[in-house]
């Protein structure tokens, strides 16, 4: 049989069905902040099952990092789209009709719609208190600030920041913003829940089967072993399908209905389910006149929406990578995860890195301009190299920033002083601490069966694992079966995020195969554990057991009358260490760059009257094939290099490279996306500067 993804025979969760299944739909709040004063479901036909807040009042609070959610909100809704209740019926149409028969009354409350306002002293509080979750995903010291909307504050301190700035010849200080963005995975969120003799079976598109199982266990007060989570291949995710999304509602509905229930969201609901953090980032950087960096201070506000989700982790990662891959003696970072009355923001391909790299790498070019040093030269002068200590105190190994940066610059024909060209470089952490385990079984006929919890969402990890296994076992890739993750069977894994699977699971696989070869049971087990983590108050420790490294270059031209930008060429250089499946790796780079291009140029969630104002694919655009600039990329390998994950690395540096290319034309962009309107404003600003000077 030919590849079912191409012939159309591949089944996704939206195709999952069982006998007797009902179809669930969700009634959502139309107010961003309100108290529910009454719910009238008396007009709903009897054969429709209605799940009300009262039905789930006895269930427990959950949340992967802060336990701030209930299956349905009790009394208060916190964003437009917050689920109020859910129904299950024989057909989707019947469920939708039932929703129209339900009357909910609200009393509006004040709301707050951006992180800057939400951190003002008199801001309304989205949540009264912050209870840290007991989920495995709350793995680091989470520091809520009581009595505020800040659910986590991460700090990193090295050296003496005041002394650093005092010694600087040149200081640049600037504030940058990035817009919220939608993942727009082609397959929407979908989940099928069924109960059998007190056991819950959840078939869902989800990148975090074990974290999901843990949170469901918390919600229903069950043992994790009594919950089975199965994750078939997803039609894309990019971070959207992580932790509990619709699974709690599906499970509670199914329990009340005593029938299996499937929920599939529509596109508008997708925009209300999980998005990317908008950010406001202030950067202050000081250098000696010869270009040596002395001090850097970064302040991040990451808008995590109405529920924290993994926002604390995003803010932390945004913070600890914000100094960038440079030797800087004096560093101070404060990064805050902030509640607002917007839909939750969470994991999004790159997890906070794009935002801080946009701010930091744009600042580098502003500094270069002020110093009169070429931006590439300024970077090369300060880059971290093998054996250098990062500002967290960890010593860098397998370092390739310079190779990446030089490769990106060469690919776009970079020449100092030539207008229209820009570069950027990034370091990106991987989930740390982190754990992966895998089991390999020999089968008759030279075949092998592998159980592992790495999920497939198009990134090709399972293909990479099968390829590595075939290589280690001396068989054909076709002789290896890797069924979809099933928490009843698959050995535990932290989760399929942060480009960690090939690196972590790949090494666990090596252990398992060695174990298999040593044993006479026909079975091998392998696990890998990376320790580390940061002190959340000082940012000292091991931020990442393994750093993703990359750079980008861009060539642009501008229509100065309309601000329209033509991106002529983008190149990304990614340090792969060792490539496992080249074509898959190329797809990861290309896909990341295209997403980065959308982020750079036009993707933006507009907030209108406290709601997402453009929740459809006409008003929210994603890149099409006709949008592509010339895209090239390199996978940089090195003899003896580690296998590096590369599912996300080529996204974060793209907007900054394009912004820096515009900077080389004298246009200073501070806000993403770089719409023609903003570029035209930058043209005006440059014209004013020239006229002032004249």
């Amino acid at each position: 049989m030919k590849d079912p993804r191409i012939t159309g025979r591949q089944k996704y969760v939206i195709d999952a069905a069982v006998e007797g299944m009902l179809h669930g739909r969700i009634l959502r709040s139309v107010y961003p902040s309100a108290r529910i004063t009454s719910i009238d479901t008396s007009m709903v036909p009897e054969d429709v099952v209605v799940l009300t807040p009262q039905d789930v009042a006895g269930l427990h609070h959950y949340g992967c990092q802060i336990a701030d959610q209930t299956v349905l909100p009790q009394d208060q809704v916190r964003f437009v789209g917050d689920p109020v209740l859910a129904v299950a019926a024989e057909s989707v149409a019947a469920a939708e009709e039932a929703l129209l028969m339900i009357d909910v009354e609200y009393e509006e409350l004040p709301g707050v719609f951006d992180a800057v306002s939400a951190t003002a002293p008199d801001a309304p509080l989205v949540h009264d208190r912050h209870k840290i979750s007991e989920n495995d995903a709350a793995y680091f010291g989470i520091r809520p600030v009581d009595g505020t909307n800040i659910c986590h504050r991460f700090r990193l301190i090295q050296g003496d920041i005041e002394a650093g700035f005092a010694g600087a010849d040149v200081i640049v200080e600037e504030t940058f913003t990035t817009a919220g963005a939608a993942h727009v995975s082609m397959e929407p969120h979908a989940a099928l829940a069924s109960w059998d003799d007190g056991r819950l079976k959840m078939v869902t598109g989800n990148q975090t089967p074990f974290n999901l199982r843990g949170d469901l266990a918390t919600i229903f007060g069950m043992k994790p072993e009594d919950i089975q989570v199965i994750c078939p291949p997803m039609g894309g995710s990019f971070g959207a399908k992580t932790f509990v999304r619709i699974e709690g509602i599906a499970a509670a509905l199914a329990r009340k209905a005593d029938r299996p229930v499937r929920i599939i969201l529509d596109r508008a609901e997708e925009f209300q389910t999980l998005n990317r953090h908008p950010s406001t980032i202030r950067v202050k950087i000081g250098a000696r006149s010869d270009g040596a960096l002395l001090a850097k201070e970064v302040h991040c506000l990451a808008d995590t929406g109405a529920y924290a989700d993994c926002g604390p982790g995003v803010a932390q990662k945004m913070g600890f990578a914000s100094p960038g891959p440079y030797r800087i003696p004096h560093v101070r970072v404060e990064s805050n995860s902030v509640y607002t009355n917007l839909p939750p923001n969470g994991a999004y391909r790159g997890y906070g890195q794009m935002q801080s790299i946009w701010a930091s790498e744009r600042t580098m070019d502003l500094l270069a301009g002020k110093l009169g040093i070429d931006p590439l030269e300024l970077r090369l002068k300060n880059l971290l190299r093998e054996g250098d200590a990062y500002c967290t105190g960890e010593v860098m190994h397998d370092v390739a920033f310079e190779e990446c940066l030089r490769d990106a610059a060469a690919a776009i024909g970079y020449e100092p002083g030539q207008p229209g060209l820009g570069v950027s470089v990034l370091m990106k952490g991987m989930q740390t601490p982190s754990f992966a385990s895998i089991r390999v079984r020999a089968k008759p006929g030279g075949r092998y069966h592998i159980d592992c919890a790495t999920v497939e969402m198009g990134q090709g990890s399972r293909k990479a694992l099968a390829t590595m296994a075939a290589d280690l076992l001396g068989c054909a890739v076709g002789d290896i079966d890797i069924p979809a993750p099933d928490t009843d069977v698959s050995p535990p894994d932290t989760r399929t995020t942060s480009s960690r699977s090939t690196h972590m699971m790949g090494r666990a696989l090596e252990v398992a195969v060695a174990n298999l070869k040593d044993s006479d049971t026909g079975e091998g087990f392998g696990e890998i554990r990376e320790n580390g983590g940061l002190d959340p108050d000082t940012g000292q420790g091991i931020a990442s057991s393994h750093w993703h490294q990359g750079a980008a270059g861009a060539r642009v031209s501008v229509d100065e009358e309309t601000g329209a930008v033509t991106v002529e060429h983008v190149h990304a250089a990614v340090y792969a260490g060792r490539v496992v499946v080249r074509k898959q790796a190329e797809l990861q780079n290309e896909g990341s760059m295209i997403m980065g291009y959308g982020t750079a140029m036009f993707e933006s969630l507009d907030i209108l009257d406290g709601a997402i104002g453009n929740p459809n694919l006409s008003d929210y655009n994603v890149p099409s094939i006709a949008d592509l600039p010339k895209l090239t990329h390199s996978l940089i390998e090195r003899e003896g290099g580690d296998v590096h994950g590369l599912g996300e690395t080529a996204l974060p540096p793209v907007p900054a490279a394009i912004g820096n290319a515009l900077q080389s034309l004298g246009l200073t962009l501070r806000d993403l996306p770089m719409t023609p309107e903003r570029v035209l404003a930058a043209v005006d600003e440059a014209t004013d500067r020239t006229e002032d000077a004249a």
């Binding site: 309309t562 036009f602 933006s604 104002g613 006409s618 655009n621 719409t675 023609p676 309107e677």
Partner: protein
């Protein structure tokens, strides 16, 4: 209750159904816009009258100095039709940039004008071409200019018992140009669109996607009377259009930004005409 589906094959049958059903009978041309409304719960018709099989609604014909285009002629046909390309290439250029091939395969000229969406490409082009539509009902027939047809977003002068059956385009233009300025994806609708036509009756410039309906100012166009188009005149008219229009703000650009772009794009369209 199931929706009633009517599939008339003659003009008379369509007009009779339209008279009988009134506002309960929704006309289906290409169905692409209708589908969007139905999927979003904005429209739930009791009865649908498909125009797909009506004899004569898909005709393109030259009639002396005019071109007659049946209401059911698709965007895709207008994009490729050899006669259209030869007689009035701006029509082909305009319909070629609407949405994607999948939509253009079914969307029709009658449908897009009757929908009167502010961000569609064809209305501004048809107004600049001084096109008219034929509105027929069981009790009569009238011709209305596209300029008068569209009153505001989704609002036209089409009566409940009328059907837009044909579009008539004069062929007296010596130069015509449609420019679509996008601010986001290639797949996006215009932030500002400009249709400029030099015809025997003079210059006609219509600006689309910036207000409830395409904007045309005859007094400003009259500045071109008796003058050869050059960059100075183009700039003068562009600036005058920008000053006169009070543009909307949407995800494609703010009002202030659109004003700037209108001045530039109108000027460029006129420069293109002169070239």
């Amino acid at each position: 209750m199931s929706t009633a589906w009517h599939s008339p094959t003659t003009r008379e049958e369509v007009l009779r159904l339209r008279a009988e059903l009134g506002e309960d009978g929704t006309l289906v041309a290409g169905g692409t816009f209708l589908g969007v409304l139905m999927n979003n719960g904005i429209l739930a018709p009791e009865a649908m009258i498909s125009l797909a099989h009506v004899e004569g609604f898909e005709r393109i014909a030259r009639d002396g100095a005019e071109l007659r285009i049946g209401a059911m002629v698709t965007h895709r046909r207008l994009e490729f039709d050899a006669d259209i390309r030869a007689l009035c290439p701006m029509i082909a250029d305009t319909f070629a940039v609407v949405a994607n091939p999948r939509v253009r395969n079914w969307a029709t000229i009658g449908g897009v004008l009757a929908d009167a969406d502010y961000a569609s490409d064809p209305p501004a082009a048809m107004i600049a071409l001084d096109a008219r539509v034929v509105l027929e009902s069981a009790s009569g027939r009238r011709e209305v200019s596209v300029e008068d047809l569209i009153e505001d977003v989704y609002q036209t002068v089409i009566e409940e018992d009328e059907v837009l059956t044909e579009v008539i385009v004069p062929l007296d233009q010596s130069a015509a140009r449609y420019r679509k300025f996008r601010t986001r994806s290639h797949e996006d609708r215009p932030c500002v669109s400009v249709a400029a036509v030099q015809a025997s009756g003079g210059l006609r410039v219509a600006v689309g996607a910036v207000a409830g309906k395409p904007q045309i100012f005859h007094d400003i166009c009259a500045l071109a009377k008796g003058r050869a188009m050059d960059s100075g005149l183009a700039r003068e008219i562009g600036t005058a259009y920008a000053e006169r229009i009070d543009p909307i703000t949407d995800a494609r650009g703010s009002s202030a930004y659109r004003k700037r772009v209108i001045a530039v794009e109108v000027r460029r369209a006129l420069e293109d005409l002169a070239a």
